[in-house]
Point group: C2
Chain length 467, copies 2
């Protein structure tokens, strides 16, 4: 039986989009609401709405929605708050079913804005129109070359991580996330002031979406008493990981959130935290953790770990010790390797015996070179049943042909043991080794601490949710 | 009264250095023990010791220490462990007073290595020779163009941060720390296996050193019962900040440390932590925090904060909320600005009133441009007596002439209010704005979280130690 189409389908897979209020001026950010669709070669039909001009960026422009003869699946309302009501009235007349309200200046901006938002919400509801926002940049669907945003986009890399935001936290860093951090994005929805569509609906949709391997959501508040939210979260977490970054944890921040998306965060953070854990979700404490964990799950899902036993290999011995501390503090433990592994590792030791874990890459590569060391280390560790996952440092400056030297790292994927890598900070700007690793779904992090915390999150999810 | 010269003076300010065992082969890391001194134009006299060649890198080479007619202030013993004893015997004969033993393979490498280290230590002690190491790369003194290390150096940037290490943690990332992280280094000592010189002596020396504004030390273990260490720490912390990164916090890591520098960490981490706090030292939990805090103190020492009231300004509103959480969690609190500041800030608001703190740079620059926004924001906030420090995000892509746009940031220095900056992650690689800020001693961090944690460390030090 085919599943009933979800109302959010028309947001993520619209056959036609009308963009109201896109500026001709490339210096204005609203220019990119339309320009991105064109540059990305969005697969559907696009209708610019602008009463002042005959065409816009090479497309025929229409004075209003009614002038478009085609059916419009999705309207992007890009006009300022004060003009938004008129656009919504046009949507009613044109029998549009789905709208994104981009502008800010509503419930987050005092009494007048609140009143306006309430009026628009009422009109939408009376006419059965579903709306994302206001104060929202949405949606993104990389498989469909669809991105609504203020930042210029020329490429959307594809992947299995889908995102729910309550603010534009991701927006100015999106190009960086895609091109430098190598995050494989599938879908993205920014709920904004949540006048209509909320986090529970978004979660349900992505939970059922076969293209979404991991959901990462940033929340400032939860609808009502949160019961529906935590129930949905629990149900989905059994099938796929959900990473949650909840801000407004402290009273000062909660107050700040309300003046920003106009929504009030309720309840103590400790209660929220415990409910998250019971639901099997993975909490991120910082923006860094949020994207770090999403990247790890995107690379490793679906994967069930046998245990929490990790191998650490770092360049300076002292860094191996510090990274070991990080492991223990985040629920991983140093693997006690087999006698066979111990013996194999001695063949890449300096002229004295060496501790296999944490493994000192500095002293071993000094005597044996990185190529031999990585090969024997990876063979020994991935074949050892006492090892569940690995975190390895690489030295960018030592690597002339990354695929030749790093090829042994692929053994970790073959043996289904999550491997996270971090490069020693370097003045060298050539990121070829990092790109090579990430193209093979081996996630790279800026530090050992972040690599280990991400592996710990994968282990936590595996233990709590996978039988 | 002139102070008695400290024995460590001959390590940091030697008039003559002999380097034993530097390789001619530029591919061998021991090559750089000598090459760095030459490239950096070390101000003292340098004598390469190598029995096989008449000259080395343009300098006359000597078959042994005795063949050098000059007095030798410092011997860098760069030969493998097995040959080190012979070099020490030569040091005795030549009446050398100071030696660094570079090689590993001693107490960290099993019984034979331990025995060798004990024998060398005894010989040194009998002859009144002070020694750093073994398993040590030391020292660095940027004012003297002196750097002993395996990594190639062509430049040492100068500053007021001095470091004590117990391992080569810093070594492979040193160029990055200087050139990309813009850390102003003064002196550095790597204690290695601590056969002789220990952390208390190093701490005393840097505590009395007028060029050292902040001391940052990485420890895996503390001598004996730690009484002398904590007493020295307390005494120095009253005069200058001491940042401590102690690894081997967990039992697994403590064990790993002992197989790496051959020194055993004793006692529980909680006890250590509480003793650190009582001594007024600032603990770093990770490698990132260690260098982050050192950079903050290098920029802001000496500076007494009036309180913990911070202003946050971030691009996406959601990031301001998250950064507010970070502040509260680390002991800072959001400044409640004056009515005058509130009014000034409204002149850079969008067409609705805006919350002054955390300040939403995204929406305000969208309507007013970054130049005007920064100027009015900085004027208002630095003149407000309710504000003690600031953390501000910048957007690299928006900045064509950094000095023009960022000049208002200098007001924070004038008004003696610590300001830390973080750039939005960006695909843009041009770091000119970051370099401009850091050349004016405004520290830049990779994230809001790290900026805020560094300011919190400065506040913690100020509250605990400065009257």
């Amino acid at each position: 039986m085919k599943r009933q189409p979800h109302f959010l389908d028309s947001f993520f897979n619209p056959a036609s989009i009308a963009v109201v209020g896109a500026s001709r001026n490339p210096l204005k950010i609203s220019h990119n609401l339309l320009a991105n669709l064109i540059k990305l070669q969005f697969a559907g039909r696009v209708y610019p709405i602008n009463p002042g001009v005959p065409d816009l960026m090479g497309l025929k422009a229409y004075p209003n929605l009614q002038a478009v003869e085609d059916e419009i699946d999705l309207v992007i309302c890009g006009v300022p708050a004060t003009s938004a009501l008129d656009v919504i009235k046009d949507c009613v007349e044109k029998r549009v079913k789905s709208v994104v309200v981009v502008a800010g200046g509503f419930s987050e901006a005092g009494q007048d804005g609140k009143k306006l938002q309430t009026e628009i919400a009422r009109l939408l509801k009376e006419n059965g129109i579903r709306a994302i926002g206001p104060n929202s940049l949405s949606p993104i669907n990389s498989r469909y070359n669809l991105a609504i945003g203020f930042s210029p986009h020329e490429i959307l890399t594809q992947g299995g991580a889908s995102f729910i935001f309550q603010s534009g936290l991701y927006e100015p860093r999106l190009n960086w996330l895609l091109l430098n951090f190598h995050l494989g994005i599938n879908k993205l929805i920014d709920l904004g002031n949540k006048m209509d569509v909320n986090e529970v609906e978004a979660l349900e949709y992505l939970g059922d979406d076969p293209e979404t391997k991991v959901i990462a959501m940033h929340l400032e508040s939860v609808e009502g008493d949160g019961r529906a939210f935590f129930q949905t979260l629990k149900e989905i977490s059994r099938r796929k990981p959900v990473v949650v970054l909840k801000s407004g944890r402290t009273p000062a921040a909660a107050k700040a959130a309300s003046s920003h998306t106009g929504v009030i965060a309720r309840g103590s953070d400790a209660v929220f935290d415990s409910a998250l854990r019971q639901a099997g979700a993975i909490r991120a404490q910082t923006i860094e953790e949020f994207f770090d964990f999403a990247k790890a799950f995107e690379c490793f899902t679906p994967l069930k770990l046998n245990g929490n036993r990790i191998v650490i290999a770092a360049y300076p011995g002292g860094e191996g010790v510090i990274t070991t501390d990080e492991c223990q503090l985040h629920g991983l433990s140093l693997a006690d390797v087999s006698p066979e592994t111990y013996d194999k590792v001695q063949t890449i030791a300096p002229p004295w015996t060496i501790n296999p874990n944490p493994f000192d890459l500095g002293v071993s590569t000094q005597f044996n070179g990185p190529r031999k060391v990585y090969k024997i280390l990876m063979e020994a560790m991935t074949e050892d049943d006492n090892v569940d996952c690995l975190a390895i440092e690489i030295e960018l400056s030592a690597m002339e042909s990354p695929d030749l030297i790093l090829e042994p790292f692929l053994m970790a994927r073959e043996k289904k043991k999550p491997l996270a890598v971090w490069p020693m900070e370097s003045t060298r700007q050539d990121m070829t080794p990092v790109e090579w690793l990430e193209s093979h779904k081996i996630p790279v992090y800026p530090s050992g601490e972040r690599a280990v915390k991400s592996l710990a999150a994968v282990h936590r999810y595996s233990t709590n949710n996978l039988q």
